[in-house]
């Protein structure tokens, strides 16, 4: 009823009234969308890592704890990290495969720091679905992921299985020959 009465009156006011009403509609809609977006963003962003989580940024580690041919798994930012003390034979095997066909090609040199080739330090989460691969398993002597069978070589490069990428490297520096700082 109200609408049918209002309509003729509105038309009588001429085209100008229409454009003013349209303008109000556009402004109101734009303000509503902007308002919803402004409220939605904090509600989404609160899901991202909080300041205390981000504060767990760096970690120092004493490499003398890792014997030749062994690896140690440590936690950095709640993520497991491999610190592997590679034997000359393992390094040679990785270098020899530098130009083999790979899913995510990388040279052995690009996976380590110059002068510290015996230390391979990378995230321990399989790039498939995040399991920790098992040390010195699989046909390349690197790692074998127990969950879905991804095989990594001794440079932590993906060689077989569903994982799409090599194990991720993260920033670290050698403070001395036996001490590193991760992050």
């Amino acid at each position: 009823m109200v609408d049918s009465l209002a309509q003729p009156a509105d038309e009588a006011a001429g085209p100008e009234a229409h454009s003013r009403r349209d303008f109000i509609h556009i402004v109101a809609t734009a303000a509503a969308i902007g308002g919803v977006a402004a409220v939605a963003w904090p509600l989404i962003d609160q899901l991202n890592p909080a300041a205390d989580t981000l504060a767990l940024a760096s970690l120092e580690f004493d490499l003398t704890k890792v014997a030749l041919g062994q690896e140690v798994v440590i936690l950095w930012r709640k993520q497991p990290v491999f610190v592997r003390h590679r034997t000359p034979k393992e390094i040679a095997a990785a270098v020899a495969d530098d130009h083999a066909s790979m899913k995510d090609p990388a040279t052995d040199a690009s996976r380590t720091k110059p002068g510290h080739e015996q230390w391979l330090i990378c995230l321990a989460s399989c790039t498939h679905l995040g399991c920790i691969p098992t040390f010195a398993q699989g046909q390349y002597g690197g790692w074998l992921c127990p969950c879905h069978g991804s095989v990594y070589d001794t440079a932590a490069r993906i060689r077989k299985g569903p994982a799409p990428k090599n194990l991720y490297l993260m920033p670290y520096t050698f403070l001395s020959d036996t001490k590193i700082k991760i992050g």
Binding site: I44, K78, Q79, H128, L129, P162
Partner: protein, 433 residues
């Protein structure tokens, strides 16, 4: 919800209320709802599912009163406080944990019934889609619930499933970080999963309301798939189906009780009694039984993104089913060829479930090794998963659309009660059910 109301308010207070909030009329119409007279016991699983949802919500609210949603306290609060210290905590926890499996058992039977009798076909597509939405919500809720005890399987299950989303290009990494609230699964992840695990069952309850609304517009399908033609084809929901559903719920409760009281650990994994350890992956990660077929499809494909898309696609097939099935005949009672393909599909899904529980390189026939093809021995669990996955998708994408166009169905009866009333010698040849 549809059709004229037969409710007559008999008392003054009912008449007063009826013009203000007709809630008694609403309930009375719900109870009087005309329901096909030939529904069999496969139709009782709707009521059984309502019962399951009720059990999960009631036991869940109680468990939340004793649960500590933090990485440091969650395991102790479940395994020590709830299981040992809280009065009847063990009972409530076992009801809740077993209840999840019972809920999925019932929903799978309900879904299979819907497929067999063509309950997804016009005019019930929206009803079917809402059911699919409920199923997806159930999987999300169950997954997050499984994380809460914060054992090894909880932790690594959470890691694997959240990492699935990392497969998507560009946005994948941002989505997993958003889900984790950190750089890996940790206490913030547990807290948000607990919050959502408490929320989602109420979302499910709301969608169940829509599901029942969408059911009450066209009314129930029935085992013949033939439309209800007159009032004589129906009986009121109460007392006929309240009693039938009540009896079925009672039988279901016996099975439920067997698991709760005698086999509470039957469906659990020993690894989940080890507190979550982010430094060690259990040697063999498997999801709960009700997710195993999808897990097998994921593992069958040797590429991460394709595997994740296949997993999502497998669930997506259910959503698409009303538009994939070209047959005008609803019930498979009158589609003998479709019935065979459907039974093979059930076998394929079960095979996938078995494959999902096994190691990918394990042998299907023990002691036999064959040639290796695409990374795996052809006698391996992975190859069985690949073949079964192929059939799973072929069934939906090729067999179902083509069969509806090519098959010759048996003659369907004129009305839904002729198969019941038919005299054996005269009519059985044409309406044999």
């Amino acid at each position: 919800m549809s059709g004229p109301s037969t409710y007559e308010p008999n008392t003054a207070i009912e008449r007063w209320l009826d013009t203000r909030l007709p809630i008694v009329r609403f309930s009375a119409d719900l109870m009087a709802f005309p329901t096909p007279r030939n529904l069999n016991y496969w139709w009782t699983f709707g009521g059984i599912l309502a019962f399951c949802l009720g059990v999960q919500i009631v036991t869940g609210i109680v468990l939340a009163m004793h649960y500590d949603a933090s990485g440091a306290g969650a395991f102790i609060s479940v395994e020590q406080n709830i299981m040992r210290d809280v009065n009847y905590g063990w009972l409530i926890r076992d009801l809740h944990a077993t209840g999840a499996s019972m809920f999925f058992l019932a929903v799978y039977i309900h879904i299979l019934r819907g497929i067999y009798y063509g309950s997804f076909k016009p005019p019930r597509e929206v009803l079917w889609l809402l059911g699919c939405v409920i199923y997806v919500l159930m999987m999300a809720t169950a997954f997050m619930g499984y994380v809460l005890p914060w054992g090894q399987m909880s932790f690594w299950g959470a890691k694997v499933i959240t990492s699935l989303l990392g497969a998507f290009p560009v946005v994948g990494k941002a989505i997993t970080t958003l889900l984790w609230g950190g750089f890996s699964v940790d206490s913030p992840t547990l807290n948000r999963f607990f919050s959502l695990h408490y929320l989602l069952p109420f979302v499910i309850a709301a969608v169940v309301g829509l599901h029942i609304w969408a059911l009450h517009v066209p009314g129930n399908n029935n085992p013949t798939g033939v439309n209800v033609k007159s009032k004589t084809d129906t009986v009121p929901f109460h007392p006929y189906y309240t009693v039938k559903d009540g009896f079925a719920v009672s039988l279901f409760m016996i099975l439920f009780a067997v698991f709760v009281f005698f086999l509470p650990e039957a469906l659990a994994k020993a690894d989940n009694y080890i507190p979550a350890n982010p430094l060690q992956t259990p040697p063999h990660i498997v999801p709960e039984w009700y997710l195993l077929p999808f897990y097998a499809i994921l593992r069958a494909i040797p590429d991460k993104l394709s595997g994740v898309l296949a997993l999502a696609g497998a669930i997506g097939m259910l959503f698409a089913l009303p538009w994939l099935d070209t047959s005008k005949v609803r019930s498979m009672r009158y589609r003998p060829t479709a019935r065979i393909f459907f039974l093979v599909w059930i076998v394929a899904v079960m095979a996938l479930g078995w494959c999902g529980s096994q190691e990918p390189q394990g042998a299907v026939i023990p002691g036999v090794t064959g040639p290796t093809l695409i990374d795996y021995d052809i006698n391996s669990v992975t190859w069985l998963s690949r073949i079964a996955s192929l059939y799973y998708f072929t069934y939906f994408l090729i067999i179902t659309p083509l069969l509806g166009l090519r098959e010759t169905p048996l003659p369907a009866p004129d009305s839904l009660y002729t198969p019941v009333l038919a005299a054996p010698p005269a009519a059985s040849a044409t309406v044999q059910a």
